[in-house]
Symmetry: C3
Subunit: 463 residues, 3 copies
Amino acid sequence: MLPIDPAEALPDDARALYETIRTMPIVSPHGHCDPSWWAQDTPFPDPAELLIVPDHYVFRMLYSQGVALSDLGVGVPRAERDPRAIFRLFAKHWDSFLGTPSRGWLEHTLYRTIGVETPLAEDSADAVFDEISARLAEPGFRPRRLFERLGIETLATTDAALDPLKAHDAIAASGWGGHIIPTFRPDDVLDPARPGHRDNLHRLGAMTGCDIGRYSGFLEALRQRRAAFRARGATATDHDVPVLATTWLDPQEIGALYDRALQGGLDADGARRFYGHMLVEMAQMSAEDGMVMQIHAGSRRSTNAALRASHGPDMGADIPVAMDWVGGLDALLNRVGNDPALRVVLFTLDEASYARELAPMAGHWPCLRLGPPWWFHDSPNGIRRYFDRVVETAGYRNLAGFNDDTRAVLSIPARHDMWRRCVGLHLAEQVRAGLFGRAEAERLAAWLACDAARDTYRLKGTH
Amino acid sequence: MLPIDPAEALPDDARALYETIRTMPIVSPHGHCDPSWWAQDTPFPDPAELLIVPDHYVFRMLYSQGVALSDLGVGVPRAERDPRAIFRLFAKHWDSFLGTPSRGWLEHTLYRTIGVETPLAEDSADAVFDEISARLAEPGFRPRRLFERLGIETLATTDAALDPLKAHDAIAASGWGGHIIPTFRPDDVLDPARPGHRDNLHRLGAMTGCDIGRYSGFLEALRQRRAAFRARGATATDHDVPVLATTWLDPQEIGALYDRALQGGLDADGARRFYGHMLVEMAQMSAEDGMVMQIHAGSRRSTNAALRASHGPDMGADIPVAMDWVGGLDALLNRVGNDPALRVVLFTLDEASYARELAPMAGHWPCLRLGPPWWFHDSPNGIRRYFDRVVETAGYRNLAGFNDDTRAVLSIPARHDMWRRCVGLHLAEQVRAGLFGRAEAERLAAWLACDAARDTYRLKGTH
Amino acid sequence: MLPIDPAEALPDDARALYETIRTMPIVSPHGHCDPSWWAQDTPFPDPAELLIVPDHYVFRMLYSQGVALSDLGVGVPRAERDPRAIFRLFAKHWDSFLGTPSRGWLEHTLYRTIGVETPLAEDSADAVFDEISARLAEPGFRPRRLFERLGIETLATTDAALDPLKAHDAIAASGWGGHIIPTFRPDDVLDPARPGHRDNLHRLGAMTGCDIGRYSGFLEALRQRRAAFRARGATATDHDVPVLATTWLDPQEIGALYDRALQGGLDADGARRFYGHMLVEMAQMSAEDGMVMQIHAGSRRSTNAALRASHGPDMGADIPVAMDWVGGLDALLNRVGNDPALRVVLFTLDEASYARELAPMAGHWPCLRLGPPWWFHDSPNGIRRYFDRVVETAGYRNLAGFNDDTRAVLSIPARHDMWRRCVGLHLAEQVRAGLFGRAEAERLAAWLACDAARDTYRLKGTH
């Protein structure tokens, strides 16, 4: 027997609220899907390649249980992987996911999105593998058809500043109507601490024709790339900031730092100051061109040095760091934070900052909205704690709605469904506590499920 | 139809406990009401002036929604304000308060304390404005009559060391029996980082006749002011400490710092050391004269520089900072913390410090009591988290009971009622979990509603 | 009437899960019981000596209520104590424990483990004292018989590196079958900041015959002591780390630091670096010899200087400090953390680190398991928050199960029972939320009650 749909476990009042939003369109303004899937519209790969090898949520847990990454195909050339063996190994450790959101997403993906009818267990691994393979070969699972069937209204990808956006252009040229838009993520050209920064500056110059030999030319090149993204539908930018420390430097200092960055000669402190200044420049450009600025801050990347050396980044060893949002955003907010044209969405991995900093900040600054629980916290308890800690001080109108933030396209419905169940639970509790009535709860449910994301990211909705 | 009274939403067991404390006297040992209201006993002003313009909880939320402060009358001379237009703008954004304690307080104030019969909404703004105005004109809403009707047993105001306390004297001279007492808040003369500190020292000298040219004279002047407050019924002092760092300096160093402070010549570090020492002096004086010392620590004030420049402090941009209570109080506690005559009440804005520091400290030091959830955390979820995190380690007898901490007199019953509902909820859950029985819960309910505040602040109760 | 057994207050589904684990054997892999109790098997002392004088949970609360430690017999020679007077004073303040886990443990100990039939209250102190005394004189309460009756499968004590383990040898030589094993706690010889460190080094040399004049001889002596502990059944080591800062030094630097430590000449920074390096050496030895490494980090010890001076350490003034687990363990994990032979169990007092650091780390590093809630957090709410914050990211297989961590042998059943009730509550909620079914919940209940502790600490179970 398959596990029950967790929606059936909702209390009646929560279930009723959830049902009002269950089938609303999926608005996905932040995520990491590969746009070439829809440009090419070729079938998805085998189950291991689709569900395990690229999912750091999955393989980090298996690694913690003593499974070698190479046995999972991670860091192994595709031709040398044995997808069925990988899937068996995963199934053997299925119990270790009990209680995790990964388990919930995978169950939803397998049993509801793909339609597998055999419960996953160590001894059913092969059968499940075959069922998945059979379904993925069906025309309804081709990327474009799937996009439509899942009711995705808008899907934003995340793209480097130097990305020529050819896949997005191909989608547009194909005449297919799916609304897939890029997001401008310029850290590779902004942050001198990133590998290849100096080369990236030169590539940026070549791509835009701007004179990146001078700081003003660099800014102009950034404006050009922002415009190129906007021309392809982008409404937002994104920054992945390990340690948040915005700063505003006088023209001489930033010019001199830029000159040194061009030589590849900045030390760690200089790199931090340069990047801290560039975040403020980006906020100013956002106030000019209306692109919503997203800040994902506070992940200590690649803390397992041996794994980083052998396998590169994103191997499950990124661990959150305690945050000081007020100090970190001080320069940005005090330069441009009162500008009514600016919108900034903040994402934290330090829940201690929800009630202490983020909610009070969002409840004051007109530019700020709070992103939904991010990464480890995108989970039933994480979402409950988020509502518990932010709503009383920030209200609902300063929340950004939901982002699935996933690179696993098949998990998109699972993630939105989990959020919508949690919204139902939360709002039902508020009604039960006498904070507001059923009518207000329904309005807020729609806001949290769709409208907040549309409004925050300045998307046009279908309604 | 008016929103339901949240008390009706309580589960039966919580409701029963709440009913045992619902109508107990209001003991308000810490707040910011203006004593001149009761000295003069003139009617309260119009609804906008009463409920919106002075309430930073309200206007910060509207500011976060893009409303200009000037449109709310904030920073606008009273004669130039349009109270009805302000009230309409507030009503238009009434939805943005859903889920916040401000909404709960305002609903209680409007529908239960004032007796408005029309539900507030954008299209009822004028009607509600008129209803409020009509009620406020009634004799029962004059400050003294209202004080009696609300069942206020004691109300403490907060008063600068240099305040001549004329309003308190006028109340006493009037023969009216309301128990309104001052609280000694000497930061303006203790903290060299405050504007006008040097002038304040000279005013202190003039006021007391002490020779403030020497440090010993300064201490003597402080003792005199404490005595003057005590003579008017004060039982407590209060400190608003941005960064807590108590320290005990040798006589030479503190003398030298004082001399420089008198010249206005202390740098930031010197000012911090001076203030850190003065907090210990205050604790020593409290151990001598029995005044309960309150420390409200960890609010980063006025983080929006443009607003501070245009409108001054208290504009809704005060954001909490992470706290180290152990390090910050080390010098104070290790100098005077074992003295049985000392009582210190601690208030935090960093909930991470509840279970990690404050509860263990209160469960050890005889002088310490934990203040109730403060500011952003004075809310149903904030109160629930407070009980959840502090009681297991500190017990109930190390808690200070409730403070409304408000400058909005009409919200006093709303705030005590919210606390009492949360006390009922909390204690009912404890009984349900089998931790203790109904009899113990009733004793603790009375302790938390009234007795703890009376006992902590050394007030005489009516019972 | 006695208070109800809190198990009777469990909801039906939680109760049913709890009943599946209620009577399982007690596995106690970390605690502070005195092994000489079982070596000598003499009756336990009087009630005050047994329950109050040595329990810092109890006397810290009474101290916070203004009770003098000397009136509780703390720091008073045993011959000068009046046990009955101490017990009366404790009973007088029994109310101050309402809501604390100490109250729950004491109630379980009194009414269920000892079998007292009179409810404790101020006016029943003498009667309860007499009942306890009578029961303790029964043969069934002699340490060995009690150990068997309580169903203790394994009990680990905590023993200094220099402890000759004579009590353990005496237990083994007695032929009695109770499984009591030592735990290797070498901080006294590893941490130069500890009193007597230099003397301890010389004692270590004398004890092992190693040449501790050189660093290599010191390491060899440590290996010998580890082997001596293993020969007596030890499977684990333990470290009490105030500020966690592991580091790996080159041979020259550690050699030079060691030489200075031998002279007693290390300053605070040198001591910290030396100890930080030794923790990594210990991890390496654990990877070699298979002893599980426990790290209890983040307690600021003896923050009340006057009490420390008059009474010594462990007087209830140890207060947690905010933790940076990632930075603190960086050197250790990046040297040996990927070694499949290593196991490290982490214990925190900073709950903010549960979801932010510890769960992500345990969900990645193969060597890490998370210890159960420690000290102040070993309580119903503390356990609930632990499951709430760690399971979603770490799963259940990265948890270490339960430790009672007590020196109060009679409280062992109370502590395991509290954990098992909380396990029942937690898993019932997971089932109710639709996360998994009853069968999985029963498996996880057994894991959390016994199997995880056996597995984590490499103990052989009875099943």
